[in-house]
């Protein structure tokens, strides 16, 4: 196992896939000569050339649509959208073309594209650069949505996404590219569906995905050492489809659930997980499930307001203590 950074893991996966299959291409703004805004394509332009590592114009709907069209006849594009905030502009092609073409052609066509994009609130980037859009993507049939919480998942999910014949949206995070973690030395394909138990526990399940997995793990350590509460942490790396069986199994064991999400509560991961709990294991519950979510505001620039708008490990701790009547 080598320790590498999240961006290095993504770079390695893309490098391997480009080397293996001449139909794999990488495209996006500044992915070529500049090596990618977050270095995820560093050195690939030099290695594979301008025909396969493509610097695009600032035409998100255009180049995403072009990638989708190429995928119709056998190209395997990995499209990097510099930030999810810019993916709004490509929604038409992602939703109306990629997600629907298999269905509306009665299975004749498919769009095996990978769309990678970082979301999340970084530091003071303001309202138009702080979107968390996973909830928008996961609501559309025909599209897979995964969101790696560590370098191992990042590597393995990119690998599987490139090979999978469905369109896959990979929701990354601007603050996680430099995170370090172990990645297997041999080739590794992470499942596109399912969930992972990131920490075993008995008393309550903390559901997280992407960055919020880390809040949950931090909260779990604190609650174990300071309050004797044993939290299970479930990593929902697949947001579409969500792992109904995994959610049910953990809640049936702990009988309590808290969902931590960086996005605003309405129509979100939290509301969806709650609905699944309701449908799958309502009678297992010892307490009403709780969401830890962002405040429902455009993200402010001011650092204090920004901090107040976005939850973190502390908020997860508070939610657990409240659930256990300790606060």
């Amino acid at each position: 196992m080598a320790v590498m950074m999240y961006w290095e893991a993504i770079r390695r996966a893309q490098d391997e896939e480009l080397a293996r299959d001449p139909m794999v291409i990488v495209m996006g703004e500044d992915v070529g000569v500049a090596g990618g805004t977050y270095k995820a394509t560093k050195g690939l332009y030099e290695k594979y050339g301008a025909e396969r590592v493509i610097d695009t114009p600032i035409s998100e709907n255009g180049f995403t649509g072009l990638g989708i069209g190429a995928s119709f006849i056998g190209v395997r594009p990995i499209i990097e959208i510099m930030s999810v905030n810019f993916a709004w502009l490509a929604m038409d092609q992602i939703f109306n073309s990629a997600a629907k073409v298999r269905y509306m052609s009665g299975g004749q066509l498919e769009a095996p594209v990978v769309i990678r994009s970082p979301g999340g609130t970084a530091h003071q980037l303001g309202a138009q650069h702080s979107a968390r859009m996973e909830k928008v993507f996961m609501g559309v049939a025909g599209l897979r949505v995964v969101t790696p919480s560590n370098p191992r998942q990042a590597y393995g999910l990119v690998k599987s996404a490139v090979r999978c014949n469905d369109p896959v949206f990979i929701n990354e995070h601007e603050l996680m590219y430099n995170m370090k973690g172990e990645v297997p030395d041999e080739e590794y394909f992470h499942p596109l569906e399912g969930s992972e138990v990131a920490r075993q526990g008995r008393d309550v399940t903390l559901f997280g995905y992407n960055i919020s997995v880390h809040w949950c793990l931090e909260a779990a350590e604190f609650l174990a050492s300071h309050h004797g509460i044993d939290c299970e942490v479930v990593d929902l790396y697949s947001l579409s489809p969500l792992d109904r069986a995994g959610i049910k199994a953990s809640v049936s064991k702990t009988h309590r659930a808290i969902i931590a999400e960086e996005a605003e509560a309405p129509v979100g991961v939290g509301s969806e997980v709650m609905a699944i709990i309701n449908e799958e294991c309502f009678f297992e519950l010892d307490a009403a499930p709780v969401r830890v979510s962002a405040r429902n505001v455009p993200i402010p620039y001011n650092h204090r307001l920004e901090k107040a708008a976005i939850p973190g490990a502390k908020d997860v701790v508070h939610a657990v203590l409240k659930m256990f009547g300790k606060q």
């Binding site: 500044d30 114009p57 600032i58 035409s59 255009g62 505001v297 620039y301």
Partner: protein, 330 residues
Amino acid sequence: MTPADKKRVLREMLFARRFEERCYEAYVERKIGGFLHLYPGQEACAFGVMEAARPGHDYVITGYRDHVHAIKCGADPKAVMAELYGKETGSSKGRGGSMHIFDVEHHFMGGYALVGGPFPLAAGIAKGLKMKGSDAISICFLGDAANNQGTFHESLNMAKVWNLPVLYVCENNLYGIGTRIDRSTAVIDQYKRVSGYDIPAAQTDGQDIEKVYEAAKIAVDHVRSGKGPYFLELMTYRYRGHSMSDSNAYRPKDEERMWSKRDPIIMLRDRLIEAKQITLDDYKAMDTAVLEEIENEIIKFAEASPEPSVDELEKYVLADNDPYVRGGKH
């Protein structure tokens, strides 16, 4: 421009340059956060066009490189700096930040962070001005790479079809972040892309404020006289990286040197000195005064201003007490 105008604009441009350089320092000191895009090198664009237009009266909209445009429209530099500091006294009350300077009182309709977003907004403002019978025009400043968004073409088409009073100013600095224009764009000369819409278009040297002014005068007069949209391309260069997080490593050094010899402020200064309108000492005194103003008034104000209260996090999300929220008889 009269000699007095030129002297005034020289000071204004110098002020803008020093203001931006001070922002750089404040960013390094971590007083300013987020993304910060600075304007040095391109000053003659905003100033030349706005000298030909009516600042505070005409409506201006732009992207994220917006501080100087706002100030030229009449925004108080203290409020702009306070915004960068995230303070309650900032032009957007600390909620917006560098990429979202707004001063609606002075008809500065904002800085927007999504490339290409302002094109249709500018056309919409022009539509509103036309409906109101106003003699103000709508002016949209954007970069070269923004023209690769569909909104560019969609907006030009609508502006022409509906004969809207909008002036599109393209500040062509040859790069979109690290990508040189010829690698992303079919033609370097952006004005050529407009011919398909039968909109008059011109290109001029964006480093020479007198040339910008002359070209902008024709453009502004055209739009104001009701003849519809106009496209003005200004060839320019930014002296710093795209933003503070840009290494700026992708530009050839001799290209940078060539453009630094065409500094819009130095060019105007030397011309005024040659014409004996000012002396080098006058210029130096001007610079000292500008630096003092920035330090003693603007930075002090930003530093001393209060931060917004966390209790007001949800203010401005929706209208306060809108009577129709509850329906009933009105």
